[in-house]
């Protein structure tokens, strides 16, 4: 009995060794690239399809796709930094990039695979917000811009032409006043313009209103906050807050948030991103809505501006040697024109390549067209700490709305806060 046992043992050991050898042999040939993104169903489905195609074209490379809930994603990635674990290629919001670069988590795109000059020729201008130390730290597949949504039925009911949305801010204010309805107790029933600070409108203030009121929001090196550098900044902030305080066309928390109010048919106009199209198509079927480019200032109609933002794919320092080569291939595939086209149809986000953004057929699309048109003059804010910067803007508007603080005083205090965030980063 003893001998049988040792024989069995011997055979199993040999078998195990053979299997291990085989596995290590395969392992030497197959390179696995770990890819992380947050969970968004249409993106996850498309990436899974793309992985199959990519792996078929590139034998020897396997992509390991992992997703996390959106709320936890930044935390998960941040925690993986000191742990030395995590992905080789990671999908990041562009506003987080400075922090991750500072943390030493990312590596710049290799110049031989992604020449800086080619990136700047082929991609929409807003990608320069992730150019740090003269290098690019990733590239987007898709980008987003803002546009004005309006409810055609509300326009008709208020005696406005349902096919003519406002083209200037002055018109927007005038229409919004006409469209706003309150009940006998003075409670807002229909908001003419879904005013908010925490949704998209704080971006509109920084990148659109300020520019159109003659202010460049940040210094060229992004170290100085210039919102109150001339009278235009004060005027823009006053005009923006007066929509809520003087003209009372909207309230920040009406119906919970601006998009819910619009979808519920309780807000006549709102500014939202291209990423909202999917939600609107599926949830706002009962309302008759249109979308158009952001208004300009009547006094200054040639200055167009928009806020752009994007998620990019970056290489982490974990990807080295053969792994980096494989990761670069995956990245080149993800930023190819073919993938961008499919991203637009499947996910609904705008292509990041200029050639596609200027495509005539796409530009004439009634829903994507206004967003694509906005890409040409879209600016992406260089954030240091997006959460803190947004909170400062929300607090400044609440100072004016709830405490009745003079907008000028509130803007000065706001600029001091925003500047302090930058000073701490650049110290």
């Amino acid at each position: 009995m003893k001998t049988t046992f040792s024989r069995v043992l011997l055979v199993s050991v040999v078998a195990a060794l053979l299997v291990a050898l085989a596995v290590s042999h395969v392992g030497a040939q197959t390179i696995t690239v770990e890819y992380w993104q947050y969970y968004y169903e249409s993106k996850v489905v498309l990436i899974d399809e793309l992985i199959k195609e990519f792996e078929a074209k590139n034998p020897g490379i396997k992509i390991d796709h992992k997703t996390f809930p959106y709320e936890q994603f930044n935390q998960k990635v941040a925690i993986s930094v000191p742990a030395g674990s995590g992905p080789d290629v990671v999908n990041l919001f562009y506003g987080w990039v400075p922090k991750y670069v500072e943390a030493g988590y990312l590596q710049p795109l290799p110049e031989k695979d992604f020449p800086v000059a080619t990136i700047e020729r082929d991609f929409v201008p807003m990608v320069d917000s992730i150019k740090l130390e003269g290098k690019y730290w990733g590239l987007p597949t898709a980008v987003r811009a803002l546009a004005l949504f309006w409810n055609k039925d509300h326009f008709k009911a208020a005696g406005l032409d349902p096919e003519k949305p406002p083209t200037t801010w002055e018109q927007l204010q005038e229409y919004a006043i006409k469209l706003t309805q309150r009940d006998r107790a003075g409670q807002l029933v229909q908001s003419g313009f879904a005013w908010n600070a925490d949704g998209q409108d704080w971006h509109v203030f920084i990148q659109v209103l300020l520019r159109q009121w003659g202010v460049t929001p940040y210094s060229a090196d992004n170290k100085k906050v210039l919102w109150n550098s001339n009278q235009g900044g004060y005027d823009a902030f006053k005009w923006w807050t007066e929509l809520a305080t003087k003209h009372k066309v909207g309230e920040p928390t009406f119906m919970g948030d601006y998009r819910t109010a619009f979808i519920a048919g309780k807000a006549s106009m709102m500014i939202d991103g291209s990423f909202a199209l999917g939600t609107l198509k599926s949830k706002a079927q009962d309302i008759n809505w249109g979308v158009t480019t952001l208004p300009v200032r009547a006094a200054n109609p040639t200055v167009q501006a928009n806020f752009g933002s994007f998620w990019l794919n970056s290489l982490t320092v974990k990807a080295q040697g053969a792994k980096r080569d494989a990761a670069v291939k995956w990245l080149q595939f993800l930023t190819s024109p073919e993938v961008m086209k499919r991203w637009l149809t499947d996910v609904g986000e705008l292509p990041a390549r200029t050639a596609l953004a200027e495509d005539k057929a796409l530009l004439s699309d009634p829903q994507y067209g206004p967003f694509l048109a906005g890409l040409k003059y879209a600016y992406a804010t260089f954030f240091i700490d997006e959460t803190a910067e947004r909170q400062a803007v929300i607090d400044a508007t609440n100072e004016v709305l709830l405490r009745g603080t003079d907008p000028k005083v509130a803007l000065d205090a706001l600029v001091r806060k925003e500047q302090a965030i930058r000073d701490e980063y650049y110290k």
């Binding site: 709320e71 000191p82 922090k99 988590y105 807002l188 029933v189 925490d198 929300i394 100072e399 405490r403």
Partner: protein, 331 residues
């Protein structure tokens, strides 16, 4: 240690001895352990797992927090240098921290007395009821066992400025609608009232138990001596309820100093991160501020310093209350 050793000894002496193999029995005297020592060993063996768990999960992280509070500890940075007491110095000049601290004191000052008063009132009334006492107890206790997140969201909707149920009621009564959670002066009160409402059942149950403890003869004697109902309550029942009141006060104070879930769910922007802690931080508590600093801004060193301060404050308050709680009550 002593009680557990004693109790296990008692167990071994009463329970029939398990049949042990002979070689085992021969081995034990050689190890030189007496029966007492062996039972003590068993006692330790039984508590070793909970003890290790407690040390690892409670004590060790708490000590780490002290260490982290002395560093520039950002989760995204590899280098986490010691910076002495800089995080604590920074606290002194942080308006957000002092606002949160002030709010936290306000929460305790509102929640604890209100819960005690309403809890005692309701418990006294329930005790007077001759029928369906259990049903009353259950009705008041239901909110307590409902998940706080769900309770918070329901109240968030009830407090809605436009179309919220409470404002609808006010309007139908011809009163002015209120901003509630959007009001700088009202938001904190709204959150505190929900905490009181939800926790009331717990206070009632504990008070009911306390009231049962009050000997009936004392009240009867006082009544015979001509004391009115109020006098009996004020001079007999209330003093004898002292331990119950103090127990609830300690628990309520600690809980309201750690208030978090209600604020996170009732007063945050739609996207979660936006406008956390109500308009202009009007509902922001210390724990929410700590959470925001640590998990939105990744400044763990600074957040840990605040945690240490909160710990010291809670410890101090608890020690003071414990001193009062241990005061013997004469029946």
């Amino acid at each position: 240690m002593a009680p557990s050793a004693e109790s296990s000894q008692r167990h071994t002496s009463t329970a029939p001895a398990p049949p042990t193999p002979p070689r085992h029995r021969a081995a034990s005297p050689r190890r030189g352990l007496s029966l007492r020592q062996r039972t003590a060993l068993w006692g330790v063996a039984f508590i070793i797992i909970p003890l290790a768990f407690f040390l690892l999960v409670r004590i060790y992280p708490a000590l780490v927090a002290f260490d982290v509070s002395l560093r520039d500890w950002n989760i995204m940075k590899f280098n986490k240098p010691y910076i002495g007491l800089k995080n604590y110095q920074r606290l002194a000049a942080d308006d957000g921290f002092w606002n949160a601290a002030r709010n936290t004191v306000l929460y305790s000052a509102i929640i604890v007395p209100a819960s005690l008063a309403l809890g005692l009132l309701a418990a006294s009334l329930i005790q007077l009821a001759n029928r369906a006492r259990g049903a009353y107890r259950m009705v008041y206790f239901l909110p307590y066992i409902t998940p706080t997140v769900a309770v918070s969201w329901v109240w968030r909707w009830l407090f809605f400025k436009n179309g919220g149920v409470l404002n609808q009621i006010l309007i139908s009564l011809g009163l002015t609608p209120q901003p509630f959670l959007q009001g700088l002066d009202q938001a904190l009160l709204c959150v505190a009232s929900v905490v009181v409402w939800q926790g009331l059942g717990y206070y009632i149950v504990i008070f009911l138990a306390g009231l049962e403890m009050v000997p009936h003869e004392y009240k009867e004697a006082a009544t015979i001596d001509g004391a009115s109902g109020w006098q009996v309550f004020r001079h007999v029942t209330l003093p004898l309820l002292n331990p119950t009141i103090l127990f609830l006060a300690v628990l309520g104070t600690i809980r309201s100093l750690q208030i978090f879930t209600e604020i996170m769910n009732m007063t945050s922007g739609g996207s979660g991160a936006g406008d956390l802690g109500g308009p202009l931080g009007s509902t922001m508590s210390l724990v929410v501020y700590i959470y925001q600093t640590a998990f939105y801004q990744f400044k763990f060193g600074y957040a840990s310093a605040m945690t240490v301060v909160l710990f010291v404050v809670i410890l101090a308050i608890t020690l003071v209350q414990m001193k009062l709680l241990n005061k013997p009550v004469e029946y």
